[in-house]
Amino acid sequence: MASWAGYNSKMEILDEKKNKNKKYKPILDGIPDWPVYQLSKNRKEFVEEVAQKSFERIKQLRPNAKQLISDLEATAYREQNRIKRNRWRVDPKDDSKFWSNIKNALVELGSKTTEEISASADSILEQIVMRYANEIAGNFKPNSYRVTRELIKFWFQRLLNGARVKKFGAFFRNQYTLRDKIQIVGKVKMLRKLAKEGTVVMVPTHFSNLDSILIGWVIHSCGLPAFIYGAGLNLFNIKILAYFMNSLGAYKVDRRKKNLPYLETLKMYSNLAIQKGAHSLFFPGGTRSRSGLIEKQLKLGLLSTAIEAQRNLYLENPAGPVRKIFIVPVTLNYNFVLEAPDLIEDYLHAKGQDKYFPEQDKYGSMQLIRFLFKFFTKGSNISVSIGTGLDVLGNYIDEAGNSIDNQGRIIDTKDYFISNDHVTTDKQREDEYTRMLSLRIVKEYHRINRVFASHLAAFVAFEMWQKKFPMLDLFSLLRIPEEDLELDYVEFKETFKRARKKIYELKAAGNVRHATHLKGNPDEVIKLGVENVGIFHLKRPLLFNKKGNIITRDLTVLYYYHNRLVGYDLDCCI
């Protein structure tokens, strides 16, 4: 411990309550017990079931042949367009052949009788959903899962120890593990319990491409079996990532495909997997937050599958006990987001149209490696905040898995699906439930979000600058030369203290969490915050100048980090 304490005093403050970061035993002994393994072992049957059920669902949605054919035509047209314009390495080799066959089959429908048309349209649909189901399905391999896991652990450990313990041979020591670098806080014990009692659907915030790897590690580190995970197909383009993804139980979500058969098949895959008890993970924000804001609007498609799966379980098992589905919100809290400059450029570009002209400044792959190295060797910790479990209607869950209402009464989730004493299927009702659940998750995100000193420093600094130029809109503000911006330290400190007090109040009311390092001497906390916000960017969002005042090298990126704390009414303290 001594060698480490001497290494960097600032790390001491960053380091959260260490005892909390203990190692958890796996809740299931062997991989063969894992639901995700069961799914992949019976992959062929499962894919067929997905295809069959998706087919039935689409037939329900498009009851007559004419409607169905018009959707199939649109699908074929868009798919051929995609192949022409936007081809990816992961796309199957026979893509263009398959779709031109489909197109020909659709053309031939014109010369058939009404009965024949209906039958052939069905068979075309069957081919399409079968293909999609196969494309989507994950390929969990226990052996490569184990290898991947050990690989990640080994190299991360080497990096950590090599860098931190400055002694010969430190490279091969095990004094530090990832758990010192990434803190898992919140309801871990509950999460483990819920994973034993029911099926967990984990819904984290999404800021960085590293999130999926990070969450994979968190799940393993909490002793949970691998989750199935809807990963963007674009990630599979990168070979090394594809290897990781495949071994972690990922299934593929292709955002280029917006057609009805694809979307229904995708939802059915998730729905059935959840029904079969596979713990699932998806980022309900859809893509990474471009603005740095905590997600306000969630994508409802995959979320609705959790509700549908729960209803189906009740429907199929009217009398007996039913495996419950638990929604667990998670926030990932960083001092630094590698892609921040690109993300915020995207955001401003979309928001401002021609008001804003982004500079071209792309990042190479060396950046990623440099980042990883810096991350493990310098003081920028990550914390993962696990929220209280919710049922599919957004009610809190107690330790035993019961849904609890505002008055602390135990309620039966099944009752939400009951009309006139029976569990019923009502698509519109469930759409509405999905919307309600998404609002609930957003609220939980804000509650479990963990405020770092760097977040608060970024928020206060940006808001102060904004207040100094009340006449400027955001875009004009961002065009002010950075050299003209300077905040008097004393003034900054007073404002920072006011905002920090407000954070304490919010925390006391249960409306946010904050890192322990936020407390204590304000000078030290501010120093920590300023030095850590966007720590590895070439142009630092916050710095001290020689006079000890606060300056910025990149106001746009500062704006990104500032956004993290928007929505807490902190601006009234500025």
């Binding site: 009610n395 029976h422 009702r429």
Partner: protein, 351 residues
Amino acid sequence: MTSTAASDKPVGVIGAGNFGTVIANILAINRKVILYARNEQMVADMHANRESKGYALHRNVEPTHNMAVLASQCDVIFPMVPSAHFRAMMKQLSQHLHPYHILIHGTKGFDITLPEGQTIESISKLTREHVKTMSEVIQEESVVVRVGCLAGPNLAKELAQRQPGATVVASHFNEVKQLGKKLLRNDRFQVYENDDIVGVEIAGVLKNIIAIASGALSGLGYGENAKGLLISRGAVEMVYLGRALGGDLKAFLGVAGIGDLVTTCNSPMSRNFTVGYRLAKGEKLANILADMSEIAEGINTVRIAKKCADHYKVRALITDRLYKVLFEGMTVEEALEFLMRYPLNVDIDFL
């Protein structure tokens, strides 16, 4: 959903005031109804005389004083109590409710929750955090999510006489709208659907402001031109305010918006109208209130709407002038003069 019609479970109504009694009677045409009243003596009287508020009770109506029984026998409940008591009623009812319950309320008014020691006037800003509609109160106080509301030009007296009329059932849930329709509709009562429950609720409250203004015009002795002007500009103001409070335009143009507004502005018997009428005759608010057994809902609505308009930066001229007349000693003539001189001449700018 078709099975719902076949069900013969009774329907609950909470609150045996004018509107509650009349709605219970309408529901009783199709179903058995359990009607709850808070006052035990009143229930006993209803049993003895088979009437409430001067209306004869339909033979299918069963009065009760027991909320638990009502909640256990009825899956569908219509709360019809004044907004001032609504939250307290829900706190009492919620312990008996389950997520399978469906609540369709018929209460027009806002629920106000302020930090301790504050009043509408003293609080620095009044926002939607403090001002809730009844459907929001239901969801805050209970586990019920399938919520709907009834609103429209529904004068209890005319409904009781089986004069032709209509109402809107608003809900986010098709299930609730269909059910409301099925239960309420008869050959003299038309039922329309709307998705925007909050908009419909807000429209039903805000129209009270315009009702006071309508009484005031009448008190000054003005005729139909003035009323036409008021109703149309009043509707525009309701749209502005309503949008700021989270409603959608469409709710304000329908039966629960324009429909209710026209009815209310033409009913000289209503309390809101009377307040305006007497103000215009030169009486002071305190005197008028002293004569009234129940407070006119519109007076509170003016206070709330004015404060909200300030916070959300909505131009609400009629509300603002009425506030000055009610609480700051401005005369009705002065208020009218201001409005007539106001240099704003765009008719409709929200479509």
